[in-house]
């Protein structure tokens, strides 16, 4: 009898251990197991003060030399900052071949490969102001979001398609699936459109009354629904499971502003302090747990990347000194296991505590002068990428590809790059 008891106990322990050993990302979708998923993966209400990364010292000071995290790989980034183009850009992307595609202030779409620039679309006098411009993650499509419609430009075929009656900008997933709000009969419904199929029809995913909201792909099965950011409003993040059509509340904070990177399976979040002033900045894990960072910046000033190994980087970098590097193929690239967060951080942290950070920044009442740091997400080790006090960059639209940091400097709207 005792043996039976022992066997049953062991079995229960094994089953529990097995269930709890699933990673949050790959947890089974069984209803019964949701408890275990929630137990393991859902964020707790008191999150926010967990862990911390090395502090960035008060304004005017760089990291002190006795700080082990200071510049520990000897990066001297000052000489590596390079202006990519004198063109004033509205937005840009970089494809995996290292080609930069940028949209200038007159609406021209320009492809830049090394020193060569090619205008691939010129709107001429028909240029109209776009509400915003975004890109598919693979840079194959450019989305021009107008107030109530969007035009999608296919970079390779140079053809246009259009989505009408939009009520949000379009979010495009890694699998090239578009998601957006569409106004119909007084409702704002969530639609999905497969951009990989030429004649695909949009599919209605959910009928909602959500107003003034945006969609972000968390992963291939989940959309994040967020409020447009403001320091003075209690903004939310809701999670919508596209497969099960279920909704849940993730965050609900004053001045919340989220940025998510589907590829890195992580994000950054800012939320305001009392009365909307100042705030706190967090790293967001795939399960939405938050890890506080000891500096304030805006999510638009940070992005993730997985560095290429040195060998792969050299063989794939067209500007490499390696004489054999004639290809720009990425087929053999192997990202390292480490994930880094590249963040531009305002040098004057104190002034932010007195500002409605999001509102003042977005309305151009606030410009910042930034340093750039590289933070290892796993262990918090931080390196300085750029901290030249004689140069001034207000970093916006930061992206990292092929071991280079790209950003638009809000002081001159030019595109810059820094080698990592």
């Amino acid at each position: 009898m005792k043996k039976v008891l022992i066997i049953i106990t062991i079995l229960i322990v094994l089953i529990l251990g097995y269930v709890l050993s699933f990673p949050c990302d790959g947890f089974p979708e069984t209803t019964f197991l949701k408890y275990f998923y929630n137990l393991k993966c859902q964020p707790s209400k008191d999150q926010g003060q967990k862990g911390s990364l090395p502090p960035i010292n008060p304004p005017g000071n760089n990291f002190s030399q006795n700080n082990n995290f200071y510049n520990n790989q000897g990066i001297s980034a000052v000489s590596k900052v390079k202006k990519v183009s004198d063109i004033k850009v509205l937005n840009y992307t970089v494809n995996k071949n290292g080609e930069v595609i940028l949209i200038d202030e007159s609406g021209k779409i320009i492809k830049k490969s090394g020193p060569n620039e090619e205008i691939i679309y010129n709107p001429g006098a028909s240029f109209n102001f776009y509400k915003n411009i975004s890109f598919s993650p693979d840079s194959s499509k450019i989305i021009f979001n107008f107030k109530d419609s969007a035009s999608i430009f296919d970079v390779s075929s140079k053809t246009w398609s259009q989505i009408k009656k939009l009520n949000s900008k379009i979010a495009i997933s890694l699998e090239n699936k578009a998601a957006y709000f569409k106004t119909e009969n007084g409702k704002n419904n969530i639609y999905q459109l497969d951009l990989t199929k030429k004649d695909a029809s949009p599919t209605k995913l959910l009928e909602t009354n959500f107003l003034d909201s945006e969609l972000i792909w968390k992963d291939k099965e989940n959309l994040l629904i967020t409020t447009k950011p403001s320091s003075l409003n209690v903004n939310y993040v809701w999670l919508f499971n596209v497969k099960n059509k279920t909704l849940s509340v993730i965050y609900d904070y004053l001045g919340l502003y989220l940025n998510w990177n589907e590829e890195a399976k992580g994000g950054t979040i800012f939320y305001s302090g009392e009365l909307g002033k100042g705030g706190e900045f967090y790293l967001v894990a795939p399960n939405f747990k938050l890890q506080k960072l000891n500096f304030i910046t805006l999510p638009s000033k940070c992005n993730f990347y997985k560095p290429l190994s040195k060998e792969n980087f050299q063989s794939n970098n067209p500007t490499s000194t390696n004489p054999t590097s004639t290809t720009t193929s990425t087929a053999n690239k192997k990202p390292s296991e480490d994930i880094f967060l590249i963040c531009a951080v305002p040098r004057d942290q104190d002034v932010l505590q007195e500002k409605l950070v999001i509102d003042d920044y977005i309305t151009k009442n606030l410009y910042t002068e930034d340093n750039i740091y590289k933070i290892n997400v796993k262990n918090g080790l931080t390196e300085t990428v750029f901290s030249d006090q004689n140069k001034y960059f207000d970093v916006d639209k930061i992206k990292v590809l092929n071991n280079k940091v790209f950003f638009v400097n809000r002081f001159d709207n030019n595109l810059y790059e820094i080698d990592l």
Binding site: M1, V4, L5, I8, T31, F32, K34, Y35, N38, L90, F129, Y130, K131, N132, G186, N188, L206, E207, T208, N209, F210, L211, D212, S213, T227, K228, P229, S230, L232, N233, V234, N235, Y236, W238, N241, N244, K245, T246, L247, S248, V249, I358, D359, I362, T363, K364, N365, Y367, E369, Y392, D394, R410, F411, D412
Partner: protein
């Protein structure tokens, strides 16, 4: 059956019962997902939230989520309160519109009650003045060029056609009236004579031509330094 086996079975049953309770509790969540929008003017590239100023139309909508699914409320009474005043208690009304009040209060409280589900939720919508920002993208607000431009950007004005023509803009430099560009009065060209270090005070004042009470002012100091 032996006593131990009975105990074991009882423990297993209790475990399953409590586990199910917990699973049920996790899935039995109820949430009112409330969102709102304010209809007023912001520039084409503004990606923040339009905040209502007095006179802006505000739309508020919600969905009630139970066990992750949106509930059909077409047959349920929904109570809407604005600043504690009942404005609707009809069945199935999931969206209301109203005009933002003046700034006697800094927020408007919206309360939604679903008595059939014993659910109440309250949100606050901030009311702000229209804003005018002098856009001067110069590091440390220092400038070393003798000729340069700044621009004024209006936010949250209640315009009829959402057109710049509906806003009058007036400029002054160091207290003296100045003129914006003829082709774009929202851009102010500035010319500094000489190379001495000086502080340039710039003021901009905007007024809605449709509603003269709707105004906004901004002021900055730039340091001219060669």
């Amino acid at each position: 059956m032996k006593f131990q086996i009975k105990i074991l079975i009882a423990i297993l049953f209790l475990s399953v019962f409590f586990l199910n309770k917990l699973v049920f509790a996790q899935n039995n969540s109820e949430e009112l997902l409330i969102s709102w929008e304010a209809l007023n003017y912001t520039p084409y590239d503004f990606y923040g939230k339009n905040l209502p100023s007095p006179g802006s139309t505000i739309n508020v909508g919600f969905d009630f989520v139970q066990n992750g699914k949106i509930v059909d409320l077409s047959q349920n009474k929904i109570y809407w309160y604005i600043n504690d005043n009942l404005v609707s208690n009809d069945k199935g009304v999931k969206e209301i519109s109203f005009i933002a009040p003046n700034l006697t209060e800094r927020v408007v409280e919206i309360r939604i009650e679903l008595p059939d589900f014993n659910v109440i939720k309250l949100i606050e919508i901030p009311i702000v003045k229209p804003r005018l920002i002098i856009n001067a993208p110069f590091p440390k607000k220092e400038i070393n060029m003798n000729e340069f431009e700044v621009s004024a950007i209006p936010y949250f004005f209640n315009l009829k056609k959402y057109d710049f023509d509906e806003i009058n803009i007036n400029w002054s430099i160091n207290g003296i009236d100045a003129l914006g560009k003829i082709e774009d009065p929202f851009v102010l060209p500035i010319k500094v004579l000489g190379n001495n270090q000086t502080i340039i005070n710039i003021q901009a004042y905007a007024q809605n031509v449709n509603d003269e009470s709707e105004t906004a002012l901004d002021e900055i100091n730039l340091i001219f330094k060669k």
